[in-house]
Symmetry: C2
Subunit: 406 residues, 2 copies
Amino acid sequence: MTDVLLRGGLPWGLGAPADILVRDGRIARVIPRGRPPGPAAPAAETPRTPEAFGAPGAMVFDVEGQLILPGLVEAHCHLDKTLYGGPWVPHSADDTLADRIATDLGRRAELGVPSVARIGALLRQMSEAGTTHVRTHTDIDPAAGLRGVEAVREAAAGCHVDVRQVAFPQHGLLTNPGTAELLEEALKSGVEAVGGLDPAGIDRDPVRHLDLIFGLAGRYGTHLDLHLHDGGSLGGWELELIIERTKALGLGGKVAVSHAYALGQLDEAYQDRLVQGLAEADVAVVTAAVYNFPVPPIKKLRAAGVTVAVGHDGIRDLWGPYGSGDMLERAMHVAYRSTFRRDDDIELALEAATVGGARALGLDDYGLAPGDRADLVVVPAGSPAEAVVVHPGRTLVMKDGVVLHN
Amino acid sequence: MTDVLLRGGLPWGLGAPADILVRDGRIARVIPRGRPPGPAAPAAETPRTPEAFGAPGAMVFDVEGQLILPGLVEAHCHLDKTLYGGPWVPHSADDTLADRIATDLGRRAELGVPSVARIGALLRQMSEAGTTHVRTHTDIDPAAGLRGVEAVREAAAGCHVDVRQVAFPQHGLLTNPGTAELLEEALKSGVEAVGGLDPAGIDRDPVRHLDLIFGLAGRYGTHLDLHLHDGGSLGGWELELIIERTKALGLGGKVAVSHAYALGQLDEAYQDRLVQGLAEADVAVVTAAVYNFPVPPIKKLRAAGVTVAVGHDGIRDLWGPYGSGDMLERAMHVAYRSTFRRDDDIELALEAATVGGARALGLDDYGLAPGDRADLVVVPAGSPAEAVVVHPGRTLVMKDGVVLHN
């Protein structure tokens, strides 16, 4: 495997330009400018040649003045549903959740969903935009069986993106007999997480719904990531149930709540209690900042130590036509809807799209330190806030030490 | 002036591919495919040569399958404040309106605001993205005088964008003695519209504030475009005052309310009454869909016949770092925040960014019909909704019959 030398970029958080040497898929060294590349070499005048780094055959990329980020983490999407890369499909559902579900069920066969080709097209687009890891919620129901899981696996095998699936009961769990057994089958087959969907609002029996999916996560040692659109006090109470179960089963660090609109709707005092509870139980919150729906209080969540991650939700599918697959653009939406204007606030959205996602997904060796996996993205921006606000095209994307786009 | 022939594009609303012949800055002919280009020529087999259109010297652009829009109209921005094209400036105000105003006043000298160079850079970017007309609110106060007006004029003179200014009392009108006289001076010098700012919430005397600016608009025969952030019942009541004055002075078609957050916050019945009042008085609503602020009910406004326009608000300035100058991207924000998923709904946002803006600004001969000014934008998209959602780079931009970007 060829060594790679990235010269003169600005590794996020380092505060100085540096050279990064990548070897065997890992970050081997990060040498801030001003320090000699080799242990015995003299300081300032040392030429930054591959030889000076002890890597004579290295491929060299000069990225002076550009920001270097760890790989972007898409923490919530629906690859299996996407129509990306195909012709424009006008949205056909009316403005109700029920009709969107019915349309989804009714038209997926006609449109060839899930499509390995469409999923692959989207994954390639994501990769070009610097996404190295994806968590995707894959529909599982008696009609579709595990076809979605298989399609995502097949597409992912042809792309340089680490794709992790959530077995997602989109069309009901308790209300759709046979689904629970299929979720278990998916987990047995290696799917990385179990999902859930509005245990009260959609599945009508929150306690049994949660007991079922938490039971599966506990038994199979998997992650759990639950869609919670239920708002107000109903959603708040369901968050209490989730916190209780996470603590009781010792699943801290492996549980995420996606959307969690209720957090953005409740009064300050109740919001504070829930944020505290999420922090204590180590339950992550995943937001997408879609449409006009409430965005959870990211600043407050982070101040309390809660992991916050971000994703697109649907991208160009029967649920809606929006989404590009670019996680810096998505981070912009999150920052914008959070009314973040200051650089350090905007940086919270970038953190959610990188380290926050990595924490929620349980990624090992993620980051910009020596020894971390060399999943790197170079952005022609001088600061993290500028990278989010402008989200310019990526200069270079590397996964496991291999330069994929440049 | 050289004739221009755009071949095979999809003029918005025509429902068929067509050839467009541009002559002397105007759309000379729009010939749907299938019809002969010349009056006497045979139908289908006629070659689409410039000669066949009676325009032997025409420049030819083949834009098969691409959408053709009239020039995009930026109906609300603040060119004079922009830092666009310069280095990234971290936002320095805290999260209050008062501190944003104080920061604006305190730092504009240090940062060289208004800057002819920055304004020019932004106008060129806007033009590249297909914007042909801009309404900009220019700060006028005793400290800055008319420097902003002059800077915008100087920058606009070097760009192929039709820029119309609003004399804007950003730092108070009644509360800032000397401002009213300067507004009048601006109108005398040819500024196209008079502005206002939260007559109650900021200027503390809504009746006198409104009487003053409506009086100026009436006397000088100008347009009026007022910032109204005041929310809830206060903002609703101010809308009533605006409707009353527009009717009493016969200023229908020349008055716009920008932001109008209150419209998105009031109960349905009151909202309906105000929408009806705006329609009767012919008062336009201009939205920017910024941050997390309420977006007016666009579908309801359009159904009632109210003109809806759209703009960026601030772009990269001391009020916030966001904004690109691309009106298709801005229309996407408007559609997204309006939870528009269906093509015909999304098209309402495009309408606001084109004909809605043209109507609000009082543009003559705007559109895609023969005789209209040849302000045209070609977008590599197969439908209006796709153009908004994806907002791909523009293939061609023409202003007054001259191809500016291609």
